[in-house]
Each structure stands twice: as C-alpha cells, then as structure tokens.
C-alpha cells in the first residue's frame, strides 16, 4: 500500500470532494481516499500492484475533475 497526493484544481465545492471520495467504492485496490475542497487535493491510499497513477487520473476524470500528481 502506498499513499499519494493528487492536486485537483477544478473542485468548486465540498460536494466535489464527496464525489471524488466515492471512488473508494468504484476502484479496485483503493484502501482510502480523503479529498479536501479546502486544499483542492485528494490523498489516496492504494495497492500499487492493482492500480496505476494513470488509472486513478482517468477515474477522477470520469467523475468530471482533473487530477495532477502533487
């Protein structure tokens, strides 16, 4: 398990953070996601053998946001 921070500059409200956190249930290999509208970032703890950075970025994009490696 590793922990990584992604910047998400296009979050516009606290509900955006809630939507991004729902990826916990959608992505296989994710242990925990903590998204913050205040910091415009998400901290994701995941199994790197099951999930890549690109897949995370793509999943976030599917939710309507842009994730950039911090």
């Amino acid at each position: 398990m590793i922990k990584k921070t992604f910047k998400i500059p296009d979050m516009s409200c606290t509900n955006c953070a809630m939507k991004i956190e729902s990826l916990e249930d959608d992505l296989d290999g994710v242990q925990e996601i903590n998204a913050s509208y205040h910091k415009l970032e998400m901290v994701i703890e995941y199994d790197e053998s099951k999930l890549s950075d690109d897949e995370i970025v793509a999943a976030v994009k599917k939710k309507g946001y842009t994730a950039v490696t911090a």
Binding site: T14, N15, M18, E21, E24
Partner: protein
C-alpha cells in the same frame, strides 16, 4: 418517437406546486384583513407567530436561505444532477432522445430532509429555550459571525482568494462514508444528507427564526415555528434550484455569480443587522438616517411626523409591521423620559423591541401600549433602538 418516454412534467413538480399553492392559499386566507381568520390570528399568539414564520420564510427567508444554503448545497446538488445527466448522456449515444433526468426528485428530497431537520432542531431549541434565553448581544454576535460567514462565502464563489474556501463546511468523512456505503449510490442519499446538513449553515433569517424558536421555551412550539418557516422557504429554493439544474452548465455559472452577488448583499445586510442589534452607530442604517430624515420629514404625512421632540418627558413611538415611526426622535437631556411603545395588530419582528445600550428587551403585545422608562442621558448622546433581528431601527437624540 418512443411511447415509453417520460411525461414532459415530473409528477414531483405537480405535487410540489400543489403544496406551494396550498401553502400560499393558507397564508392569503390568514392575512385577509376582513376575514375572521386574522382575528383568530390576533387572538392566538401561536397562530399569528406561525403565520409570520411562514410568510417570513416565503419572502426574506427563502431568498436568504437560497443565498447561503443554495450557494453551498443546492449548487453542489445541481452540479451532481448536471453530472448525472452528462453521465447518462454519455452512456446513451442518442443524447437528444435521452429521457430527461428527474432533477426535481433530488431537490424535493433535499427540501424534505431540510424540513425534517429544522423541525427537529426547532423542537430541540424550544426545549433548550425552557432553560436559557439568548440575549440581544449574543444574537448580535451571532448575526455578525454569520454575516462574515456569508461575505466570506460570496468571496469564495468569486474566487477572490484560496483562503475563502475555508468558509465552506466540509462534512466529516465518517458521515459521508457511512451514508455512501449504506445507501449505495448518491442519487438519493446525497440530497437527503445535504438537506440535513443545512442545519449547520443557517442563513441570517433562519438564525433569527432559530433564536425565536429558542425563545418560545416549548419543544412543540419551537418545532411548529421552524416547520412553518422552513416550509415557507421551500418554494423559492425549489424553483431556483430546479431552474438552475435545468439551465445547463453555462447558465449555471451565471447563476453561481448571481448567487454570489445575492450572498454578498445579504451577508452585508446581516452584518449590518448585527451592528444594529449591538446599538452601533456605525451600521449603515444608523449612519445614514440623518441624511434621509430631513427629506422624509418633507414627504411625511401630517399625522406621521418623522421627527418628534419630547418636551413633556413623554415620547410616543408607533411600532408597526413595517418598522418604527418616527424613526428619529429628539428628547431633552438630563431628565428621565417615558417612551410609550404603541402596537396595533403588529405581527412583524418590530414587536421584539430592543434598546441595546440600556440592555432592554421586550416582546411587545401585538396590540397595546408598553411604557419604558429611559434614565437621564447626556446632551449630544444618542440611544439606538431596533427589532431583535436588527432589521428595523430608530434613534433618540438627546439635546
């Protein structure tokens, strides 16, 4: 064209409009001057308070609620619905023929959850009110804090500085996680949760109504008061939020700007109300009253003078539904005065009369006269008076 397409009007909208029309009809019957119902209202403090709460909700409360909670929550809701729509459209290639998302349902759920939450909170406040009461100073501090919160939120919506993002409330992770995992899917859980969350970010008018619920000292009355008020706020909230979700992303952006402007204005108004309630000479109303008084005096009807001088130590102040008349009084310095507060079918918050500097607070009868003894004041000093919401104000100048 498929026959299985959804009807052009959502059933939820029909039900919602039914509720709205019924509520408006009740309010109109209650306020019909020639009907007996106003007498019932006049004779029954409870009934008149509930009607006032409802009308406050449907007018100022609706807009104020929309400004604070709409900016924070309904826009998130709208964004979610918008995104659901986009996701749905992405799944179906024929976007033009895709059935419209039932955007009324999440808003309806949001408002029902809000109504339930505020009713319960009203009961809690009423129950707590039997143990304690909020002083005008505490209310003033609350109003100023909420005013700052609203202005901060408006600046956040304008993207003025990243620091203003901290003016939005992030729900605790464990709650969002719990709801998400138990309800499975955000379509119904999120609006309900956001509706419940609104109790943590009451707008200025809601806060004042909460203070009133606290003042009832009864769980039943507190619940009824908050129910009436929140029901009143629902139509404006529903219509605007519904329109916002239907207008699409481009107009939604415009709507957000509009909300930001309204939040900013209401934030400043709430701040000003807080200053009024503190008896501050620096509130907008108190600073500008002198500018408009001479003009008002010229325009005033003969029987309603705007400037009254108390030569005999007696002052008469008419407390009406639209405020105090005259708003500017003059009195001799160095001697005790009697201020006669006269109400006549007065149901507005003007009844909650406050003189901050004297620490005087009284809920006046809807019809009658209450006398207040004002101790001798220094020449050149000013006593400000206001309603408990800081909306209606006036002053006595001592010469």
């Amino acid at each position: 064209m498929s026959k299985k397409q959804q009807p052009s009007v959502d059933p939820v909208i029909i039900v919602m409009f039914g509720v709205v029309f019924l509520a408006v009809a009740i309010a109109m019957i209650a306020f019909q001057p020639s009907s007996n119902s106003i007498n019932i209202a006049a004779n029954s403090g409870i009934m008149s308070q509930l009607v006032v709460a409802f009308v406050t909700g449907i007018t100022t409360g609706g807009l104020s609620c929309l400004a604070v909670q709409g900016g924070l929550l309904a826009s998130s809701l709208a964004h979610q619905i918008e995104q659901d729509y986009v996701e749905h459209a992405a799944k179906h290639k024929k976007v033009k023929n895709a059935p419209r998302t039932n955007s009324a349902l999440p808003i309806f759920l949001f408002l029902v959850a809000k109504l339930v939450a505020y009713t319960l909170m009203g009961a809690l406040l009423g129950w707590l009110g039997s143990f304690l009461t909020l002083s005008p100073t505490t209310r003033a501090i609350l109003m100023i804090a909420i005013g700052i919160f609203m202005v901060g939120n408006a600046l956040r919506m304008f993207n003025v500085h990243p620091i203003f993002r901290y003016f939005s409330v992030e729900p605790p992770k464990f709650i969002t996680r719990y709801i998400r995992r138990t309800a499975k899917g955000t379509d119904t859980a999120t609006p309900i949760f956001l509706g419940l969350l609104t109790i943590f970010i009451p707008c200025g008018v809601t806060q004042a109504m909460m203070a009133t619920a606290l003042g009832t000292g009864s769980a039943m009355m507190g619940a009824a008061l908050m129910f009436a008020f929140t029901l009143g706020t629902s139509p404006v909230f529903f219509i605007i939020a519904y329109l916002a979700t239907e207008l699409g992303a481009k107009l939604e952006k415009f709507f957000m700007r509009f909300v930001a402007v309204v939040v900013l204005i209401l934030g400043l108004v709430t701040l000003d109300g807080g200053l009024n309630l503190m008896g501050s000479p620096f509130s907008l109303q108190n600073m500008t009253r002198g500018w408009f008084a001479p003009q008002a005096q010229v325009n005033a009807a003969a029987d309603v003078p705007q400037l009254v001088t108390a030569a005999d130590g007696e002052l008469v102040l008419t407390v009406g539904n639209n405020g105090y008349s005259p708003a500017l009084l003059k009195a001799p310095a160095g001697k005790d005065l009697t201020l006669n507060l006269v109400t006549n079918k007065t149901y507005s918050c003007a009844r909650d009369f406050v003189i901050p500097d004297l620490n005087y607070y009284e809920l006046l009868p809807d019809t009658g006269t209450v006398q207040v003894t004002i101790p001798a004041q220094e020449a050149g000093s000013t006593l400000f008076f206001t309603c408990s919401m800081g909306m209606y104000t006036g002053q006595i100048v001592f010469e």
